[in-house]
């Protein structure tokens, strides 16, 4: 699930995404944005495939050759960590599309569950998560098993309370022996890139 097409990634972070994504056979991004063209370039140069998921339509100027754009929710209703769940964290951002789901005001309906659709019968080599405020953790719960050993995970917005998006995921990666962190930036939002070094 994703709601933004703007991203606050710096040029250095975008370049890092491109460099680490290079040589990947299958790249998945949740949260289409400026990063899409950098990841798409990496996919094209290595002859790989890239899928990007966004909850809203993507402007034509963000459409690049060879990338499959999926529109809808990345997860399904049962994946969502709702208010009342021990891991639920309030975001400081209000009126995001996924906030209504998180607070039980609306239910996720199709098109949805697009991560599982995109990854059916294959392993991920590179995942970039930069989606809605309330779904980063839910996406991680799916993606961590879908990533191949030696595959990469990149996450944006890893510092709370700036964002509630990925700080718990970053924490889980940091504390686990299954992952090795290769890059962490100290920008306002922060980007982490880690490698899955053994099966979970």
């Amino acid at each position: 699930m994703s709601c933004i097409l703007r991203q606050s990634l710096t040029n250095l972070e975008l370049d890092a995404l491109y460099r680490y994504a290079k040589n990947s056979n299958f790249i998945l991004e949740v949260g289409t944005g400026i990063s899409t063209q950098f990841l798409g370039k990496a996919a094209m140069e290595s002859g790989g495939e890239m899928v990007t998921i966004n909850i809203t339509d993507t402007p034509l100027d963000l459409h690049f050759k060879g990338i499959t754009y999926l529109m809808g929710y990345s997860i399904c209703q049962d994946d969502m960590i709702l208010r009342g769940h021990p891991q639920f964290t309030l975001s400081r951002y209000k009126n995001t599309p996924d906030e209504s789901v998180a607070f039980g005001k609306i239910k996720i309906r199709p098109p949805c569950d697009l991560i599982r659709f995109a990854c059916e019968n294959r392993k991920l080599d590179f995942y970039f998560g930069d989606s809605g405020e309330y779904c980063g953790l839910a996406e991680w719960n799916i993606v961590k098993d879908l990533l191949a050993v030696d595959g990469w995970i990149a996450l944006h917005d890893i510092y709370y309370p700036k964002s509630s998006k990925n700080f718990q995921v970053y924490d889980a990666i940091r504390k686990s022996d299954n992952w090795q962190i290769y890059l962490k930036t100290n920008t306002k939002a922060g980007l982490v890139i880690a490698k899955k070094i053994k099966e979970l």
């Binding site: 339509d57 993507t58 060879g66 499959t68 754009y69 529109m71 809808g72 199709p110 098109p111 659709f117």
Partner: protein, 190 residues
């Protein structure tokens, strides 16, 4: 969405068009693979598939050769139908294939539980009327061009929102994808 004022083109126009643009229509679009992936992922067993405006039949070839389809009916009013008959001939033992060289306007669609409309609805003015007559619950696989002008297009969809605006009252969208300038949709007739 931009409505263009041109009339629909007839079979003679397409016969002429195919002659000079044959190679474009024999090249497989990536979106056909996406449609095949959706069909496989949903695990729906289709009893009767209707392919409208099937052209030379290359998407049909991909689907019939990849899926356990039992009945496949294709309508194509241009001479491309003759080519399609030869193309699909090797599969007539495993699938009951019917190719009708005619327009699909006004046909009885009641027996079909799956309709494939690839690059079709932008060419006709009666797309809504056609969909309206399908049985509720019919599976629809549609591809549409985004922001592409042509003398054969009766309407131009500027983006996915245009597509949803036009069809969401009669189609329950289950999947929306886009590869380059092609939108790829799976929906269920409401």
């Amino acid at each position: 969405m931009i409505e263009t004022l041109i009339n629909e083109q007839n079979a003679a126009h397409y016969n002429q068009h195919w002659k000079t643009n044959y190679s474009r229509y024999t090249k497989e679009h990536q979106y056909v693979s996406l449609i095949l992936k959706i069909m496989t992922y949903t695990k729906i067993k289709f009893n009767h598939v209707l392919d409208i405006g099937a052209g030379f039949g290359f998407p049909a070839l991909k689907l019939i050769s990849s899926l356990p389809l039992k009945n496949y009916t294709a309508y194509e009013f241009s001479n491309a139908a003759d080519f399609m008959k030869q193309l699909l001939l090797p599969f007539t033992n495993s699938c009951e294939i019917t190719i009708i060289k005619d327009t699909f306007k006004g046909i009885n669609t009641s027996k079909y539980d799956c309709v494939i409309a690839l690059e079709i609805f932008e060419h006709i003015n009666w797309d809504l009327e056609f969909i309206e007559l399908l049985n509720p619950g019919t599976n629809l696989f549609i591809s549409l061009p985004i922001n592409q002008k042509s003398i054969r297009h009766t309407k131009i969809f500027c983006n996915q929102t245009d597509i949803q605006d036009r069809y969401s009252s009669i189609i329950d969208f289950r999947f929306i994808g886009q590869i380059e300038k092609w939108s790829c949709i799976y929906g269920i007739k409401k």
